[in-house]
């Protein structure tokens, strides 16, 4: 396993994969910064805690960008092998086929962690720049930076399965983007939140209550544990499907 990971690491050289996982969190932060700096006075009147408001507002940007980014990352990562039909080289090496799949999963999770850490640091920088009052809620910010990725676990393993299975990346990318767009609608209705595309949206440490069609208090998210469990279960299911699929894959 280590050998495959070490090998995959070299293959990332001069690709768009690493820059992309730095760029999109930066983009999220820029948008969040702009929104917050415009809305700052408005929000300060309504609520006391600006840190919490920031988390709620940024969450909407994150849940849209993260599945998109994951779709493009998994596709690019698989395309490294598709491009020159390297599967036939890899599969003729004395290495279990599933190892190549696990290595890719590991790689994406590592990239997601890096992006998550950028978000975490970015939150603090935004708060300091806009001089939010109160102590920095480190745990809350860390949770907001990482929980959506945990919720995206099924999307990661699902997209990876598709992008390895299909040589033409147009198909997995189309599905991934469709899913990211659908998430907005899925998360609105209680029953459709059970579909795995909605999990990143549901994985927020705090949420804003809505009363009488207007924004109310920000409260902790009680459903967190439930969706965490769901995303791990579905993440594993798609992982098993992906492993079985690569195991059967023939290098034509």
């Amino acid at each position: 396993m280590n050998n495959v990971i070490a090998s995959d690491k070299i293959k990332l050289k001069r690709t768009f994969i690493k820059p992309l996982s730095y760029l999109y969190p930066a983009l999220i932060l820029v948008i969040a910064f702009l929104v917050l700096s415009i809305q700052k006075d408005n929000l300060a009147v309504q609520y006391n805690n600006m840190w919490e408001s920031m988390v709620v507002i940024t969450h909407f940007i994150i849940i849209f960008m993260v599945p998109m980014a994951i779709t493009i990352l998994t596709s690019n990562l698989s395309n490294i092998e598709h491009q020159n039909n390297s599967w036939k080289l890899l599969f003729s090496l004395p290495i279990a086929k599933s190892t190549f799949y696990f290595s890719k999963v590991f790689n994406i999770i590592r990239l997601c962690l890096i992006s998550g850490m950028i978000l975490f640091v970015g939150f603090i920088v935004i708060g300091k720049t806009l001089s939010f009052t109160g102590e920095i809620p480190y745990m809350l910010l860390l949770k907001e930076a990482l929980y959506p990725y945990l919720g995206a676990l099924p999307i990661i393993t699902f997209q990876l399965w598709l992008s390895i299975r299909f040589k033409n990346q147009a198909f997995p990318i189309a599905i991934g983007i469709f899913g990211a767009v659908c998430m907005f609608f899925l998360q609105m209705n209680k029953s459709t939140t059970l579909l795995f595309w909605a999990y990143p949206a549901m994985m927020t440490p705090i949420k804003q209550e809505i009363e009488n069609n207007s924004l109310a208090e920000i409260v902790p998210n009680d459903d967190l544990g439930f969706f965490m469990l769901l995303s791990i279960v579905f993440g594993l299911i798609f992982m098993i499907i992906g492993v079985m699929s690569i195991h059967k894959q023939q290098a034509e």
Partner: protein
């Protein structure tokens, strides 16, 4: 002699089209096995089955005396391969490509990569991106990747594709030396007989999925020995005369006599006999058939390229 590759009744069908039809391959230790056939004969399909890249519809494959189906990983440890177009990572340099595979195979030491680069003649281009390589250079890199794990068996599918004559010569010299230097067994496929002629000691010829010849190359050479053609005014009479002398004779399509004998004394004797019967002899000429002719004949006999 121990068998390195033993395939029995190997068959591959795609939607009822039989691409490889019940072929039996046998490659011994230290052989350089030339696997020949015209384009689309089933060479690459066979090689992919030998490497476990695709599953045979029927038949058994044994490599190093073990069943491929149940010992795939174990067997692949001893094989280096290059299948059809070389696989490479265009965003990496030649050195980095080998490094990626070196890490995969857990081969120790950076010197090994330098050695390989030197062997395949890419030392000067090691820091150039592979996407800027010429096809010949990519092909060499592919051979380098195949050699990286110090395999016991090297399977090369059309390794000289896209190489210039000098490159072909170099690769040939490289492959020729492998069995004696490192005890490597080589299986090399090609659609050109001349290419393997000078290095293979054993050849298998496949056409339309059928293995139509498999033996030592000397056996093939014997078929290419010289033949004598004689043209006379009455070929049928001449045929019976020569037959009476107890010699092998046949009539060709051009109504010429065709003798599998080329000893000077015998030819003189035959001609003398024919002249005694008042036959007019127009031509007596030697026909030298090259291995290439034999190859074409074998592959067209079986209904190949017309």
């Amino acid at each position: 002699m121990t068998k390195i590759i033993e395939a029995t009744q190997l068959t591959k069908e795609y939607k009822k089209t039989t691409v490889v039809n019940q072929i039996n391959l046998s490659v011994g230790q230290g052989d350089i096995y030339g696997f020949l056939g015209p384009n689309g004969a089933g060479k690459t399909t066979t090689i992919r089955m030998l490497l476990g890249l695709i599953k045979p519809t029927k038949g058994d494959i044994k490599i190093f005396g073990k069943e491929l189906a149940s010992h795939r990983i174990d067997i692949l440890k001893g094989i280096g391969s290059l299948v059809e177009y070389p696989s490479y990572y265009g965003n990496l340099t030649g050195f980095e490509n080998l490094e990626a595979i070196r890490r995969l195979l857990r081969v120790e030491g950076n010197n090994r990569i330098k050695e390989i680069l030197h062997t395949v003649g890419l030392l000067n281009a090691k820091d150039k991106l592979v996407k800027t390589y010429s096809l010949g250079m990519k092909q060499r890199l592919g051979i380098g990747i195949a050699l990286l794990g110090s395999p016991k068996l090297l399977i090369l599918d059309e390794p000289t594709n896209g190489l210039d004559p000098a490159g072909i010569q170099e690769i040939r010299e490289l492959i020729k030396g492998l069995p004696s230097q490192f005890g490597i067994t080589v299986m090399i496929s090609s659609h050109l007989l001349s290419e393997v002629d000078q290095m293979a000691n054993k050849v298998g010829i496949i056409n339309r999925g059928n293995l139509i010849f498999q033996d030592h190359i000397e056996e093939l050479r014997k078929k290419s020995s010289t033949k004598i053609n004689i043209r006379v005014n009455n070929p049928r009479l001449a045929e019976s005369i020569i037959k009476k002398e107890g010699l092998d004779v046949a009539l060709t399509a051009k109504e010429e006599l065709f003798i599998n004998e080329c000893e000077d004394g015998k030819i003189a004797y035959i001609v003398e006999q024919l002249m005694r019967q008042q036959l007019s002899i127009y031509r007596v000429y030697e026909e030298k058939r090259s291995l290439e002719d034999i190859f074409l004949e074998l592959t067209s006999e079986a209904g190949g390229v017309s």
